[in-house]
C-alpha cells in the first residue's frame, strides 16, 4: 500500500509556540543542564523529543536549554533528572506558560 502521508519533518515548533502565552522569568531559568563534555543518549534525545524544542546542541556538540517556550510537561525531568544531567523546577509562581484553553 502506498504511504500517501508525507512525513511532517518540515513543521516548525516555533510557529506552534507562537500561539501560546508565556510570562518568562527573565534571568531565572527553571531548568538547567549540568555541564558536560559529551551528552548522554538521553540528553541527546531531548533535542528531538522535547515538545517545545527547548534543547539544542551547540557547535561543540553539548546540549543546551532555552526554557522560554517550555510547557512544563516534565518529559526531560523523567529522562534526565535522576542521573543529575538536568536540574528541574517549576517556574516561580505566576511565571511560565499560561494556558488559555489547556
Amino acid at each position: 500500500m502506498n504511504a500517501i502521508v508525507k512525513p511532517a519533518q518540515d513543521v516548525r515548533v516555533e510557529d506552534k509556540l507562537f500561539q501560546n502565552r508565556y510570562l518568562v522569568d527573565a534571568g531565572r531559568p527553571h531548568i538547567k543542564v549540568a555541564p558536560h563534555e559529551t551528552p548522554s543518549a538521553a540528553l541527546l534525545a531531548l533535542t528531538r523529543i522535547c515538545p517545545a524544542k527547548c534543547y539544542e546542541q551547540n557547535e561543540r556538540g553539548q546540549v543546551e536549554i532555552t526554557p522560554d517556550g517550555c510547557m512544563e510537561c516534565g518529559t526531560c525531568r523523567v529522562l534526565c533528572e535522576a542521573k543529575g544531567e538536568i536540574e528541574w523546577n517549576y517556574p516561580r509562581g505566576g511565571f511560565g506558560v499560561l494556558f488559555k484553553f489547556g
Binding site: 500500500m1 502506498n2 504511504a3 500517501i4 502521508v5 508525507k6 512525513p7 511532517a8 519533518q9 513543521v11 515548533v13 506552534k16 509556540l17 500561539q19 501560546n20 510570562l23 538521553a42 534525545a45 528531538r48 523529543i49 515538545p51 517545545a52 524544542k53 510547557m71 512544563e72 510537561c73 516534565g74 518529559t75 525531568r77 523523567v78 529522562l79 533528572e81 535522576a82 528541574w88 523546577n89 517549576y90 517556574p91 516561580r92 509562581g93 505566576g94 511560565g96 506558560v97 499560561l98 494556558f99 488559555k100 484553553f101 489547556g102
Partner: protein
Amino acid sequence: MIEEKFDAIVVGAGMSGNAAAYTLASRGLKVLQLERGEYSGSKNVQGAIMYADMLEKIIPDFREDAPLERHIVEQRFWMMDDSSHTGMHYRSEDFNSDRPNRYTIVRAQFDKWFSRKVREAGATVLTETTVTELIQDAYGKVIGVRTDRRGGIVHADVVVLAEGVNGLLGTRAGLRTPPKPETVALAVKEMHFLPQEVIEARFNLRGDEGCVIEAAGTISKGMTGLAFLYTNRESVSVGIGCLVSDFAEAMESPYALLEDFKRHPSIRPLLEGSEVKEYAAHLIPEGGYRAIPELCGDGWVMVGDAAQLNNAIHREGSNLAMTSGRIAAEAIFQVKSRRDPMTKDNLILYKKMLDDSFVIKDLKKYKDMPNLLHTNSQNFFMTYPQLVSKAAQNFLHVDGTPKLDKERETTRAFVKARSRLGLIGDAFRLALAWR
C-alpha cells in the same frame, strides 16, 4: 506569609485538588489551596472529557452553571494505517438525556468555574504561588509547606498532594519515586477553532451533541500511543500521546507526530480551514496499578495524577482524580471529626475507601495491560492495524476473485505476519490482561 494554621493545605488546583479543597471546605474545615498558575487552570492540560457521575458526587447541580462544551453521543475508535482507518462507532439517542454522562470541556474555563466553587465553599485559594518544599518535623511527619512567597511557610494538620503527574514535592520529600519513562506518556495537543455549524455538519451533530474519535495504529510509528479528536462547541481538540520511553528510543518528535496525524487522509478533512489557537504538552500517568505510590503517610495524602491514578485503557483520568480528591477529603474529615491526629495509621482510611471504589478496582483489573502493550507495541500498533486494514480492503474490493480465495489470503497474511502460535499467544495474553 500567613501566620495562621490550617486544617488542610491542598497543593494544586486541578481536578483532584479542586475536588479535595471543595469537599474539605464544604465540611467546614479551614482550607488553604495553593496554585502556581496565574489562575486555577492556567497550568492544566487535558483532552478533555469530563465524567458527570463523579462530579455530581461533589457538586450535584453542576449542570446549572459549569462551562460544558458538548455532551457525547458518539464514540469512534479508529485503527489506522497510513492511508485508511477501520472504525468501531457507537452512537445512541439515549445519550441525549437530561443528565448526560460525559461532556467535553475546555480545562482552563472549567477549572476557573471549579475554583470559584471552591472559594464559595469557604476555602482560601492562593494563586501564583509555587510550593517549593514540604516541611517535615523531626519524625518525618509533614506539618506544612514552604512556598516561593516571602516568608512563605504555612502550617497545617494535613497536606493534600494534588500536585499533578510530576509529583515533584512528593519525590523531594522522599514520599515516592519520580515517574519513570515507561510509566508516563507525553501527549501534545492543539486547539483548532471552527464555526459551530461547521463542526456540527462535519461530525453529524445537532445542538450540544458531541463526538469523540480515538485512534491507534501506524500513526504512533510503532510506539505505544493513542491519538484523539474531541469536539468542543466551537473548537476541536486534536492530540497524540506515546510513552516517554518510546519517544526517547525512537527519537520521534512529538509535534511532527501530531502533524502527521493531522495530515492523515481520514483526519485532514475534519480540520480543514481551522484556526489553531494553542499548542500544549502534558504527561499522562500510564503505569496503572503497579505504578501507584504510597497514598498516605503522617500528615499527607496523595491524590489524582500525583498518585498516578489514571486508567489508560479507558482513557479515564479526571474522574479518578475527582474521586480520589473527594474520598481523601472525606477520610480527612472523618479523622478530624474523631479528633484523631493526621497520622498514617488514621489516614489509611483514605486508602481503604479508595480500594473499595471503582478507582483502584478498575486499575487492578488492568494491572497487566501497560506491560503487555509496551512490550508488544510493534504488534499492537503497527502489524495488527495494517493487517486489519488489508483484510477490510480485501473484503470490500470487488475484482472477481472468489470470496473463499480472498478469505484464505487474509488468513495467510495474518499467519505470515504473526505465525499461528503468535496469533494465539497474542489473543491469550490480551484476554489474560483484560480479565
